[in-house]
Amino acid sequence: MAEIRVQNLRKMFGSFTAVQDSSFVIDDGEFVVMLGPSGCGKTTTLRMIAGLELPSSGQILLDGGDVTFNRASQRDIAFVFQLFALYPHMNVRKNIGFPLLCQGVPSAEVRKRVEATAELLRIDHILDKPVSGLAGGDRQRVALGRAIVRRPKAFLMDEPLGTLDTEFRDLMIHELRELHNSIEATTVYVTHDQIEAMAMADKIAVMNHGVIEQYGEPQEIYDRPATMFVADFIGSPSMNFVPFHASLEPGPAKISIDDQPIVLPDLREGIEDKDMMLGIRPEHIQFDDNSRLRGSVLGAEYLGTTQIVTVTTARGDMKARVAANIPVQNGETVGLVFDGHRLSVFEEQSGRAIQTQLHDPIVPVGV
């Protein structure tokens, strides 16, 4: 197992910058997800770590050793593409053992490790079956087994669940995370799917236009997004943004939107006469008839325990996640209040988050 250290990594394709000066450290045994829209540079970063692309500048260190220009085969890293590719003419045992045979591992040892791997993935009962007759889930477990049987220093995975339907994907998300917990291999996983990222990652690197906009634990990224891009990309439905203009001193702060006073988390930096954006997660909005911030209900999406209500206000459409037993009628006028100390504040121009008490080193414990 290994630590992966990426320093000032940069990749140009002609005049196009795919990855700009990326630096981050993946600790030994960590599961890191690189998340972003297509074209953000996440796959290019992964391919450079794998040795499938050479960087234009910068360094990649594997356990402290510089592997920047090593061949892929010299890095002891397993790359998992889509989990489907199996050798159709071999049975499960041979499929899993194939990488070891290629390395010239003695057959008794191959047998032992294949069986241990199969047990880990709970496919030991189908070891001698042909792969052609297997169900989808089992096929992927076999493909996964082939990747882990070598016990490489790190796993790199490029959207391995991308082509699966949602039902299987949910199942595999849990299995992959469980597998990681039991073998604790350093893993870098690329996806554009925030659900996969939030459910599996120890840390998430959110990328946009070749830049890592934030690198941190899932909860931190959700609660304290560093930029408006991150705030918008993570969360379903997305964070609501309401523009305002203000000059505010550091410390307790209050603004007013449509004459409705809104308490912000204590500011840790001042705001000088600037166009700002207030960021409100849908679950931090509640209905209150006394609020002067009003709108009319455009529609409600029923989700069982909760519902997502879209409200058209003078400041644009806002989505609120409220309990499903709150009755709402299309066209009805409602007042909105926000859960003050969970709000985010951004500079409109740069998209950067203003530091508030949410960013203080000791964060109040809560759910």
Partner: protein, 337 residues
């Protein structure tokens, strides 16, 4: 627009009965979603409605007329598949116009232009009409594919997981749009998915399928809050309903023949208490972004619920847990009402 009726329809492939004795009525202008796991018979049902498969027994009526063995081309239905297949060498406009330019239809180019523009504006892709279909994002391509079905204005739309290959954000966007379009046009849609969110947010009624048969059909609220059995109860709700043996903690007013308790987040009341009077404890909190799950332990049993964003419970807390009108099931999983 039209209504569709399945009367005791069965379809076997060799020894496997994919659809068994299925009866369902879809009203004119209704959006019905068939929900079930892989192998429940969802897609076969759709293909039977389209005429791509012929039933072994039973009949299929459209607007009261028997269409059981009618060829697909004679049915006036449009099918939207999971994988959008557009003509890559044609522009978005020509892709949308293609079904209208069929020699059978003899529609004037002027009329085609009008209908294509109307459809494009409905789907908000007017500004992309001149693009090659390959110069589109995934969401736009799927919108064009849906548009190609809409432009023909058929009596019935059949959709087989049309959103499943899109990412979460686009899925959420297109869910809303599809529902809006269906309302605006008053279309009859039979839609197949295994995504419960799609079913709950779009359907007028959800039909729950299992092993080729219809287990229950009703509005999303009926299916969610008033399921006939454990299987239906487990289809909707995130996190899934917790099913515990009634012996785990027998609530006072549990019926005598109750075998298990089905508890969703809204059926459980939690309060912090001291160790001595606690009957449960908070194991851990799973942060999933848009929702957080709290995992609770009652003796040897575990419960997963949605966390209240305003609650201050923390892992390790001792809890007093009370059930509030949960669901009860008998030995074979039937609901006790």
């Amino acid at each position: 627009m039209a209504n569709v009726t399945f009367k005791g329809v069965s379809k076997s492939f060799g020894a496997i009965e994919a659809v068994s004795d299925l009866s369902i009525d879809i009203a004119d202008g209704e959006f019905v979603v068939l929900l079930g796991p892989t192998g429940a018979g969802k897609t076969t049902t759709l293909r039977l409605a389209a005429g791509l498969e012929k039933p072994n027994s039973g009949s299929i009526l459209i607007d009261g007329a028997d269409y059981t063995t009618t060829e697909p081309s004679q049915r006036d239905v449009a099918f939207v598949f999971q994988q959008y297949s557009l003509y890559p060498h044609l522009s978005v406009f020509d892709n949308l116009a293609f079904p209208l330019r069929s020699p059978l239809r003899k529609i004037s180019e002027e009329e085609i232009e009008k209908q294509v523009r109307q459809t494009a504006s409905l789907l908000r892709i007017e500004h992309k009409l001149k693009n090659k279909s390959t110069q589109l994002s995934g969401g736009e391509m799927q919108r064009v594919a849906i548009g190609r079905a809409l432009v023909r204005n058929p009596s019935i739309y059949l959709m087989d997981e049309p959103l499943s290959s899109l990412d979460a954000k686009l899925r959420a966007e297109l869910r809303l749009e599809l529902k809006r379009i269906q309302r605006d046009l008053g279309s009859t849609i039979l839609y197949v998915t295994h995504d419960q969110i799609e079913a709950m947010t779009m359907a007028d009624r959800i039909g729950i399928l299992s092993e080729g048969g219809l287990v229950q059909i009703g509005t999303p609220r009926e299916i969610y809050s008033d399921p006939d059995n454990v299987y239906v109860a487990a289809r909707l709700g995130q996190p899934s309903i917790n099913v515990l043996p009634v012996s785990a903690m027998r609530p006072e007013n549990a019926p005598g023949n109750a075998y298990s308790i089905g508890a969703r987040t809204e059926h459980v009341r939690l309060s912090k208490t001291d160790k001595r009077s606690a009957n449960a404890s908070l194991d851990w909190i799973e942060h999933l972004g848009d929702q957080n799950h709290i995992h609770i332990r009652i003796g040897d049993h575990r419960l997963t619920m949605l966390a209240d964003p305003r609650s201050d419970l923390a892992p390790g807390d001792d809890l007093d847990l009370q059930f509030d009108a949960p669901l009860y099931f008998d030995e074979v999983g039937r609901r006790i009402r």
